[in-house]
Symmetry: C2
Subunit: 236 residues, 2 copies
């Protein structure tokens, strides 16, 4: 019987590629997404289509309300910055789009599901290259989470299963991720990266996430399949 793997899926390029890699490694796919006070549900619709396209055994969407605590552009009502947040990172700031404890909360839910499914793998599409400003994307965070997880569960006492957190993209650039996904047959037209899409699911082309996406396709030498709602964006 194939190993089971939980994949944290946001509907974006990175988590979709991580899912395709898990599949290529022979795992049965259990896709997990979160509704966490985003302004739009377009990325969840994308996550559903992606899970289906990659043959997931199940897809669950968990509601979590981080807005109760406030504290980030993605969940509060402060405007999404229209510039490259890597500039913030160079100034030793944490990007304003950072959501407190987000990956920790996501991985905790994945842990719960993994224990029930007796799954030994959780895949998360973090990368320490393009987004090193996020503390919870660093390899040493992932290692510390994995250690904690194996102490937290029945696993840790009964040694039935050892839980592994897989980060297949950790040392890849956006272009490297896209090249890997293309080789695995990923349809990136299903994915969405924009922090500020319109109601049809088209992307702004100018938010931090769109800028990285466009740069990634350009550097990978792959045609960007993203619909942008800003006229001059495709050539930006």
């Amino acid at each position: 019987m194939p190993d089971k793997a939980i994949i944290l899926s946001s509907g974006g390029i990175d988590s979709t590629t991580a899912m395709a890699i898990a599949k290529s490694e022979g795992k049965d796919i259990y896709s997990l997404s979160f509704r966490y006070g985003q302004r739009h549900s377009i990325e969840l619709e994308a996550a559903v289509k992606i899970a289906k396209s990659l043959g997931a055994k199940a897809h669950k969407i968990i509601d979590i309300d981080l807005r109760q605590f406030g504290g980030s552009a993605l969940t509060d009502d402060i405007p999404v910055p229209k510039h490259d947040i890597l500039e913030d990172i160079k100034k030793d700031d944490i990007p304003i789009t950072y959501v407190p404890a987000r990956n920790t909360i996501f991985l905790s839910y994945a842990m719960a599901w993994a224990e029930i499914l007796k799954a030994s793998f959780i895949y998360i599409g973090v990368t320490a290259v393009d987004y090193s400003g996020y503390p919870d994307c660093r390899p040493k965070f992932i290692k510390a989470f994995e250690k904690m997880a194996n102490l937290a569960t029945k696993t840790g006492i009964k040694k039935e299963t050892i839980l592994k957190i897989e980060t297949p993209l950790i040392h890849l650039s956006k272009a490297g991720i896209i090249k890997t996904g293309i080789q695995l047959g990923v349809d990136y037209s299903l994915t969405i990266s924009c922090y500020d899409p319109d109601e049809k699911g088209s992307s702004c082309g100018f938010c931090d996430s769109c800028l990285h996406r466009k740069k990634g396709f350009a550097e990978a030498g792959v045609k960007d399949p993203t619909p942008y709602y800003t006229a001059d964006s495709a050539s930006a």
Copy 2:
């Protein structure tokens, strides 16, 4: 200015005592409870009253839906066992009332709130004595979580705050916890332990949690203020 502390509050004896200890140590109290698919909300009503009685600055209730994953007596529709689950533990089983990843998920939300409040302390009323069958109550789990938390947050990069997970009850028996709380003026009539209370908030007297509660009061030499709905329970 006093230090801020998040207290995980279930409305029971342990978390209430942990809250009283945090207060006695001069902390400003921020109480955090969870609605996680329990059969009853009586423990949440208790948590609200307790936070008020101990002068909490804020009290938040977070909805989390562990029922989506299934897997435990407290969230599924399997009957609550009416016997001492320490018997299960002696047989090297995990109690059926164990909820997968529960403390990990609770602490992850506490972490998010702590980061936003710039709080340096999270108090959790776990004890390694009476409930050692739960893997996520063990001191080495708590230490591993603390380490992970300090890598997960802005804290971990900017060193503005070091997050500490305080477990003041870790080496106390139920009787020791009750004696400590009584010294600090805790009103245990506000707390509830029962897994199976009636609609008025009275306790069954026979579930694992009631058995431990009664034993604790007896051993502490303190009158048990709990209303039981089973006639012979008070003398059990």
